[in-house]
Homo-oligomer: 398 residues x 2
């Protein structure tokens, strides 16, 4: 075997690298790939054949002939595999199936109590995924990965939740191992705010390299994209905005001199508690959202103040990371423009001018579908990475 | 010309990519490079010859022969170019010359008043650089780039300072254009905290991907490395810790209910002002450092409190970015362990456990040499990037 024909995956320009060139969706001839890569023609041929064999690329018609047999073209084949994308919330589960481009083919949301524990919830997720796959009737197409977002901190490298406050029974539970009992493929687990950030970027801000997604619901958290990359930090706990202390603000309702965690001040449960102190019947985030939608002026003012408190922390985030977009999502953020108004009021006043002059602060344009989209994109990037593609191609040729 | 012999720079595996493989310093034969890249032998030969012609690589002896003429090896040649690395402070300028690996060959520090303005300061820097180059007697070796760190915010893409508070006369001054009047090469300008972060990472934490460098001197700022990349943000203002508002702390000396910018509370000038209020003669950061070194207990307590205030903001940074190392530098941080003790006291108490369990908070192990080292590394990464190498090789072959 010559060097030029060695097994893909052993060097720095394998089949996976050829596939990267095709992920833009354009069909190309082998001659075009030779020109783009500088690889020998025999090498390109061997690698394209391997990608064809593994299904990652497919024939895509013939190019215009310059005489003789017209050269055939190949293109990325997003239908070569399916991804199961899951978004778990405190009280719902969305299960979706996407192709390798992250495009959602089918999706279903149902009420689920996350506190029922990992076995009950994941059994239901797996059953729902099987049902969706059955109804899609793509029996030959393999599931190549599973992506799951959960409402709490996750050690991304192991896929285990880590002291998640609203997920009793899930602490350190090995989610990948349990799901792999049914789907023996890579299972990636992440904090829901991280997959929401990826989903927002993919759907609505594809050219933005510095984006902060902030979820304001029962709890508060952030997904941080900086320099084009999702930032999870050294242990995967980056983006924990909910436990940042908020300075006492003169226009705040809490006692002077007392600093509190942002979540205890501006999360849905905290807002409900504030409303109860004022004699309004509000038990949860849901009640708060209903009151605001019904036009209750006390609830509306409470949301605007929550926005100011979130804005206090975001003004620090803006000084530190200089994002170009801040996206607000979650049930409290979606209850009208009141939270957004409070955030803008504080951030544009407090942050440094160089960091705010081109800063957009917006409500989530992508909405709830950002979660499963982000989970699908997270898995697609992993399974289509050069190393993973090379490994799969090598395994298929043995 | 066949595709395999096309001009380097036109495709995805050019001469620059070959050079990347050699940056680890190991010498390799052309056969080894063929094996590593999968490129055709004729392509590797053409690109290695181009790199030899441009001087980026040099012959590095012969490999063991398996019969016949022994194959020759090539290696990265860090001596092929020189980099001028400059660190400007409020009252000093350090000018250094490094090779392409960032290794400092010669360096000189002299007192300079940054407030003398860009023309006076840069004329002096350029003269000092010429003198260093003359004394190194490497007349044939070209200067390939200049890196300059300045004590204030910079729009990195243009190299212009942007409203720098302690650099009167420098606002929007086109530093690259002025320096290029003498050295017609790429001139990269950055906030000094960014080059300090790069220098610390290079010298002392090469395996750390999430590192925060905090400079506490007359002013306060941070350089942020997240996911292995220096993060400058959308406009280049990331890391502005000095203007983050600090919540009032019960053990703080400032009035209850009043929040202030971190720099107005814990910067060297602010500490001097606090000491003056207590009847101690202190005009500047320098006086504060002297008092602390002389064992003045009031000055020592002021530094510890400044550390607590810096720690308040860093506890937010830790929750948001989950770094594995925080490095404290700058004149105030270097005046003993007092500031460090105050920072640790607050950060380990306030930040979430998952983010602090493996977190190291240390005094700068690299010290002042981190600045010119970081400036040199910043330029080396730029001029040795595949695109820049390909462009240089192509220009040389015309």
């Amino acid at each position: 075997m010559s060097d030029a024909e060695r097994t893909p995956g052993g060097g720095s320009t394998g089949a996976g690298d050829i596939l990267q060139l095709l992920l833009d969706g354009r069909a190309r001839t082998k001659a075009e790939l030779v020109h783009l890569t500088g690889l020998a023609r025999s090498t390109v041929s061997a690698r394209v054949d391997a990608l064809l064999g593994a299904g990652f690329v497919a024939p895509a018609g013939e190019a215009a002939s310059t005489g003789g047999r017209p050269p055939s073209r190949v293109a990325f084949n997003p239908g070569a595999g399916l991804i199961i994308a899951v978004d778990l919330g405190a009280s719902h589960a969305t299960v979706a199936v996407s192709d390798l481009s992250g495009a959602i083919l089918s999706s279903k949301t149902r009420p689920v109590d996350i506190a029922a524990g990992p076995v009950a919830v994941l059994d239901l997720v797996v059953a729902e995924a099987r049902a969706l796959l059955g109804s899609l009737a793509k029996g030959d197409t393999p599931v190549v990965g599973v992506g799951i977002g959960v409402p709490g901190p996750v050690e991304h490298s192991t896929g285990r939740p880590y002291n998640p406050p609203i997920m009793p029974g899930w602490d350190r539970f090995d989610i990948p191992a349990y799901v792999q009992g049914t789907f023996a493929v890579p299972v990636l687990v992440d904090n829901d705010v991280n997959i929401l950030a990826l989903g927002e970027q993919t759907a609505s801000f594809p050219d933005t390299t510095d984006l902060i997604f902030v979820k304001v619901a029962t709890g508060i958290g952030a997904g941080i994209i900086a320099g084009g990359q999702l930032q999870r930090g050294a242990q995967g706990s980056a983006g924990d905005m909910g436990h940042v202390r908020v300075p006492h603000s003169p226009d705040s309702s809490h006692p002077a001199g007392e600093d509190r965690d942002l979540e205890d001040l501006a999360g849905g449960s905290a807002i409900a508690a504030t409303l109860r102190e004022q004699g309004i019947d509000a038990e949860s985030s849901l009640d708060v959202v209903e009151l605001v939608r019904a036009g209750n002026p006390v609830a509306i003012e409470a949301l605007r103040q929550a926005g100011r408190d979130v804005g206090e922390v975001l003004s620090t985030v803006v000084n530190l990371l200089n994002p170009s977009v801040i996206v607000l999502g979650g049930s409290i953020a979606r209850a009208g423009e009141h939270l957004l108004a409070g955030v803008r009021e504080v951030v544009y006043r407090r942050s440094i001018p160089l960091a705010t002059q081109h800063l957009a602060i917006v409500q989530s344009p992508t909405g709830e579908r950002a979660a499963v989209l982000g989970a699908a994109v997270m898995v697609a990037r992993e399974v289509l990475s050069p190393a993973e593609v090379d490994a799969r191609v090598a395994a298929g040729s043995r």
